[in-house]
């Protein structure tokens, strides 16, 4: 673990315990350097992470302050702001929820031109096509259409789909998932989707189209997830 990550965790804890209450000033960078026995750059990196997670704000010449948290915001011990890249399973089981999956489709086919482009492969390569509904605490939450190149993700089995594909990729294949590009839209469900999600056909869905990348830059996943039941996507943006 890096020094700055440890400092991030420590300051996070101090904020969540109320040692540093909302609007209070953190010790100055110089003081934090002394306290943690590190150099200025290490403190700076830690504060940068905390700022990007929306927990503090920094004012040149003035100091670093604890942000007032909005109602219902939880300080996460993990690195993620809103649990984006952990995978569906990890995110929900971490909250103590029961997750099930119904797999409607699991086949291998040639990708459409659009998907081939997104994954940066040839239309003559093969991809898995997976259709799953994810069920959290007995409520159908989301229907996912996932495409993955078999060349990159070999030997994918039904049992992985029923649990976590991400765990298979990271633990068994030992690939490191790096980041994802997402496009978010509002859509209406098709008749089939409404049926599979047990919703009325006039409930809008939040569609998240995603291309996931591993750390060597290759796209390992193109997916479209359509979330029901007022699913919320949270994000923090810097000016």
């Amino acid at each position: 673990m890096n020094k700055y990550d440890l400092i991030v965790q420590d300051i996070k804890q101090d904020i969540s315990l109320g040692t540093y209450p909302a609007y209070s000033r953190l010790p100055s960078v110089a003081q934090l350097c002394q306290q943690y026995e590190v150099s200025k750059i290490t403190i700076n990196k830690a504060l940068e992470v905390l700022e990007q997670q929306g927990l503090i704000f920094r004012r040149k010449g003035s100091g670093t302050f604890v942000k007032k948290l909005e109602e219902g915001t939880q300080i996460r011990p993990s690195k993620e702001v809103s649990g984006q890249m952990e995978g569906f399973m990890a995110e929900h089981t971490a909250r103590g929820e029961r997750v099930k999956s119904i797999v409607y489709t699991f086949e291998v086919q040639h990708p459409s031109e659009y998907i081939a482009k997104a994954l940066d492969i040839s239309p003559e390569d093969f991809v898995y096509r997976i259709v799953r509904v994810r069920i959290v605490d007995d409520v159908s939450q989301v229907i996912e259409y996932t495409y993955m190149p078999i060349g990159l993700i070999p030997n994918l089995k039904m049992k992985h789909l029923e649990h976590s594909i991400y765990a298979y990729i990271e633990n068994t294949l030992e690939l490191r998932i790096a980041n994802a590009h997402r496009v978010i839209r509002a859509v209406m469900p098709t008749t089939l989707e409404a049926e599979r999600l047990s919703i009325t056909p006039n409930e809008p869905l939040l569609e998240v189209e995603q291309i996931g990348y591993i750390d060597d830059g290759r796209a390992f996943e193109y997916s479209v997830a359509r979330h029901a039941h007022g699913y919320e996507f949270m994000t923090i943006s810097m000016h």
Copy 2:
């Protein structure tokens, strides 16, 4: 302008001109240090920015590589990944589009308890309540419900609403907008909204609920924007 920002701009240009094509390796950090006559930390910071914008990826022990851009992705010369915090007006006029606003409501009132909490003010303070429809190239794109504390944003006038509130805040009031917390959902329009947006009542909208902050940590804006016509919200997340 910082050194690293200049390097970011320069490398961006080299990528968009094809000097560094997709999948090619950038010069090593050491080489870039020589080339730009800066230290390693400066190059690192520049590459960090480019990575967060999704233009490159870095592999320890291996090098820094140009990412394959998805179809339709534009490299922006500005700092923003997806133009989140520039304000609606600036974002669209930058693209050469004509932007108009219809102001339906412009009044001062006490905030609801929920909005008072979001803005971290008392329910006895006053806020502007603004309802606007934004029209881009003669198409109604979005209806916005905006609440701002009059204590923080004094003397707001109709002419600002018709153009850019952000410009008024940054240029006239000289407040610096720092960041925003957003929650995104899919919703259906009300009958009134469908009318004002000139859409059918069964077209889903992308709702973006936002709290905007200035650089001293105070919330200057609570707003709910409901976007029509398949508006897309784009984001990049790191693992």
